[in-house]
Symmetry: C2
Subunit: 214 residues, 2 copies
Amino acid sequence: MATPHEPKQDRSRVTRQRLLEATIDCLAETGWTGATVSTVAERAGVSRGAAQHHFPTREELIAAALEYMFDNRMDMSKAEQILIREIPPGAVRTHAVVKALVESYTSPFFKAALQVWTHATTDPVLRERIVPLEAHFGRIAHRRAVEGLGVDDSDPVAHHLVQATLDLARGLGLADVLTDDSARRKQIIDQWSKTLHLALEGTMLAKKEAPQED
Amino acid sequence: MATPHEPKQDRSRVTRQRLLEATIDCLAETGWTGATVSTVAERAGVSRGAAQHHFPTREELIAAALEYMFDNRMDMSKAEQILIREIPPGAVRTHAVVKALVESYTSPFFKAALQVWTHATTDPVLRERIVPLEAHFGRIAHRRAVEGLGVDDSDPVAHHLVQATLDLARGLGLADVLTDDSARRKQIIDQWSKTLHLALEGTMLAKKEAPQED
């Protein structure tokens, strides 16, 4: 089944992946200034020419690295979602969903992405490139949270509580970049989960009590 | 009452303030790389020597700018606190406190501070300098929120809900750096205020129903 082209395509894919992983490492260790196409190529052990063949500009490299980080985070959370679906709906499941969500914002990916977002505030070209990506990521993360919590997203209260949970997760991610905030974070996750569970239960009860249309 | 030293001290204070304001502008417009003692001095119209007299190192300048931003944010919120105290305790007051809190995280100060935090993740000298500052700011912001909400901070549920509200505010701040998130933010503020109010009311009711020791 193999064609003569496959090995070359494989090599190209491996090179691309090595460049993206090196980008994330450079961002996390040396920040935005340390993540140029040249430094990334050197770290990945790829020639500058080959790196530029994959990513002609720094913006393309950074945008591709953001997508790669997001896809990885989502793949990890896919595995978690499978585990979460085993838990019957209720307070325990809500806690598991909130915990998984928050932890995805304290990963090294978040710290690398923070370098990009922060730089983009002063770089309009980069900003224009990553704003649509971030909007897309936000929609997927929201959908995953809705599925995990098993709520009706067309209910505005549920919709806004899910959004608030994602905002909280982002805030907890930012609180963890300079010091290890894990002990405090655990308490916030526990409390938020309880409060969220009660509030979401309220939306479901309200729905049951409302007159049915069917 | 004036002494011959006062005008000189005044000049010195004005110079210091101009340097700090120029630091914030430089951080917000050009990011970390654009905020050196030289560029800040130039922007402030102060000689490099005078700037270095006030701030011998870049870390000292940045740390002082963080303190200046925080003090300003707190002064603004002091004015708001006075207005908030006019509102009788209840859902309306909770909403006003949450709104004021969140808005303080979407100010230009937050955006300038974000440049510092993000850079500090890859700069241990800066990090060591600002971590104690941030811990101090966090304690003050928490106390202000507790006073505004009028809750008993020794109650662990109330304590963690106040912390979660500050974490949510930080997350909403970060969501606003690349695009104008104000319309969505308003909805999140409205929903979380309601949920928080009910949850805090629950802690107060629980206390009333609990056996009194006196």
